[in-house]
């Protein structure tokens, strides 16, 4: 387990950067600054970040920004990307209409 308080102290306070307005998750319109700031608020894993900012929760499901968010978080934490725990994978893997999901009765392919 990561000692969040200690880690937060170690990485210091959030400092604004010139490129904070850069859009990282375009589906949910989450910026680089928002992600960096969230790290300083104690968000260290992708799972938490997705719930906190909704990055990677849109149409492409993080296919585009997943790796970018991970490296932004890692840089902010002064760690390599594998330090940042990935989100758990859940069904449905692809965006799917509620109408289709809702009527799933377990039928098979004919």
């Amino acid at each position: 387990m990561i000692d969040i308080r200690q880690k937060l102290e170690e990485i210091g306070a959030f400092e604004p950067h010139a490129d904070d307005g850069l859009l990282v998750c375009r589906c949910e319109e989450v910026t680089k600054g928002e992600i960096r700031k969230a790290v300083h608020e104690g968000i260290f894993t992708i799972e938490e970040m997705r719930r906190y900012l909704r990055n990677g929760m849109g149409l492409c499901q993080g296919q585009t920004c997943g790796r970018l968010v991970k490296s932004i978080m890692a840089a902010e934490l002064k760690e390599t990307p594998d330090y940042v725990e990935p989100a758990s994978a859940r069904a449905p893997m692809r965006p799917i209409e509620m109408e289709i999901l809702g009527k799933d009765q377990g039928g098979a392919y004919e």
């Binding site: 490129d19 850069l22 859009l23 990282v24 375009r26 680089k32 296919q63 585009t64 920004c65 997943g66 790796r67 970018l68 990307p81 594998d82 990935p86 758990s88 994978a89 859940r90 069904a91 449905p92 893997m93 692809r94 799917i96 209409e97 109408e99 289709i100 999901l101 009527k103 799933d104 009765q105 377990g106 039928g107 098979a108 392919y109």
Partner: protein
């Protein structure tokens, strides 16, 4: 609850998935293959270039042809392929949920092979969300599947094989590639691919990255800058290009989420989030396998072999093949796979700077930074000999696993030997008849025929040429050097096409004798300029 059961469920009808299904079906397994796309073949049908390797790897065959062969084989062995079928869930008990049409259907497999491939990486820079910033794969889809030009003037970011191959294809399709840049200090892909692009006149900017995509509504330009050792832009190094398209070829990430969801043990590597697999593709969950890019990024040729290895392993796991049969087939396939993983670009050499070839020859530094071997460097390679009579000049200077040229020459002029990564050697003792089969067989378009004194003071250079329209005999144009710059005036003396050349045309130009080792590309007069 109605669940259909299958011996083997394959997710992804790309090179790995189809190969696995075919291999298993050969032993009596009944596989079903799901693919979310409208067409099978994965990325193979976008690959219009000739593949590397040797005969058993289908070398010198174009990717889409290999795709057609795979589909025919799948049909022959009764592999059921369901298209527009998106697998949305994979569970530890090997149950799969698939969206087909407007419903979710349930399947259970005695074995599952995940061959979902990879997706393109992106990079962030100011303006990256503007229309006109696209992935290299998207550019290939537009050009090679839908026959739509992605743009007119393109900047390519990424000098790996994808960036190099797609840059060349963009030019074949009629786009202008204004520059190829990469933040890395050296070109990542094959030197022969880079050389093809460089001799068309594309400048390479290594240690450069994109600062900004310009434009309000869509891309109208791009600014790049040089990066220092700290990966920050060095002040005063900005360069601007007018472009309408920025193409990104910055790597791929495995689409491995289904495996994670199924409870397979995963590992977080520099190459992405991948399942822990043994050599046969078996994950930590018995009966669930992975093959191809999803288990680690490589290329289509190795994905097909990995697929076959998983296919026979699954056949044995299900009781359709004897252990002995499996072992001998796997040995055979592993030799093929091992061959592909040799040479300078082997997975084991990733990130390493190779300074000498296996033969002990210094690697061309110019090739690694500018994309072409300099006139001073070219003479030191064994495929480059000085002869008056017609002979092949093989500008193959890096150890890559490829040998079709050796088989192409029936005269014995070219030898590579049993080590597939060795540089080709031109044997002066054997008589070249100028048939050009070697030129057309080279997937790297690195072979030229050179002959001195076809008339007093003039000789001929024959080069591979894959652009339309084809020049005509008698046409006067300009010969360009390896760097794409004009070297002299020239005349087209021969244009050869043949089914045996498989769309690599042979263009022969007449140039002064002293330009024979310099002229490597042809341009019609109006578009080339001396500088």
């Amino acid at each position: 609850m109605d669940i259909r059961r299958y011996d083997m469920i394959v997710i992804g009808a790309g090179p790995a998935g189809l190969s696995a299904a075919i291999e298993a079906a050969k032993h009596g397994v009944k596989p079903i293959v799901f693919d979310e796309n409208a067409r099978p073949g994965g990325q193979l049908f976008k690959q219009i270039h000739k593949f590397f390797g040797s005969k058993e790897h289908k070398a010198k065959i174009r990717g889409f042809k290999i795709g057609e062969e795979l589909l025919a084989e799948a049909e022959k062995f009764g592999v059921e392929v369901v298209l527009n079928a998106t697998v949305v869930g994979l569970y530890p008990d090997k149950e799969v949920t698939v969206k087909i049409g407007d419903e979710i259907q349930h399947f259970k497999g005695d074995s599952i092979l995940v061959a979902t491939g990879a997706s393109e990486n992106m990079v962030n820079f100011k303006g990256w969300t503007l229309p006109g910033v696209i992935g290299a794969g998207a550019a290939q889809t537009m050009m090679n599947l839908h026959h739509i030009l992605p743009g007119k003037k393109v900047l390519m970011l990424g000098s790996g094989n994808v960036g190099l191959v797609v840059s060349f294809q963009l030019m074949q399709a009629g786009c202008e590639v204004v520059a190829l840049c990469d933040a890395a200090p050296r070109i990542g892909g094959y030197g022969v691919h880079a050389a093809k692009v460089a001799r068309c006149g594309v400048p390479f900017y290594l240690s450069h990255t994109i600062i900004e995509a310009e434009g309000d509504e869509y891309v109208t330009g791009v600014t790049i800058g040089e990066v220092g050792p700290d990966w920050k832009i060095i002040p005063g190094t900005k360069k601007h290009f007018d472009v309408d398209t920025i193409c990104l070829a910055v790597g791929l990430s495995p689409m491995s989420q289904l495996l994670d969801q199924a409870g397979c043990r995963m590992k977080d590597t520099r190459g992405g989030f991948v399942p822990e697999c043994d050599a046969e593709g078996q994950t930590s969950v018995p009966g669930i396998y992975a093959a191809g890019d999803v288990s680690g990024i490589e290329e289509a040729s190795s994905a097909m072999i990995e697929g076959r290895i998983s296919g026979i392993t699954i056949a044995e796991y299900l009781g359709f093949a004897e252990n002995e049969e499996k072992e001998s087939r796997i040995n055979e396939l592993e030799v093929q796979l091992d061959t592909l993983r040799q040479g300078m670009f082997a997975p084991a050499n990733r990130g390493k700077k190779i300074e000498k070839t296996e033969e002990g020859i210094a690697i061309s530094e110019n090739l690694l930074v500018k994309g072409f071997v300099s006139d001073e460097e070219i003479g030191r390679f064994p495929g480059v000999t000085k002869q008056r009579k017609i002979h092949p000049v093989m500008e193959c200077t890096q150890n890559i696993p490829c040998n079709p040229c050796q088989d192409a020459c029936k005269r014995g002029c070219i030898s590579i030997g049993s080590n597939i990564t060795s540089l080709p050697v031109v044997d002066k003792e054997h008589e070249c008849i100028g048939c050009g089969l070697c030129v057309a067989s080279c997937s790297g378009q690195a072979i030229f025929l050179v002959e001195e004194d076809v008339e007093p003071g003039y000789g001929e250079v024959t080069m591979p040429y894959e652009f339309m329209p084809l020049p005509v005999v008698g046409e006067k144009g300009i010969a360009c050097g390896r760097d794409g710059r004009a070297v002299c005036d020239c005349e087209v003396t021969k244009v050869r096409t043949s089914p045996a050349f498989d769309h690599t045309n042979l263009l022969t130009i007449k140039v002064p004798n002293d330009m024979l080792m310099k002229a490597r590309f042809y341009r019609a007069k109006k578009e080339a300029a001396y500088d």
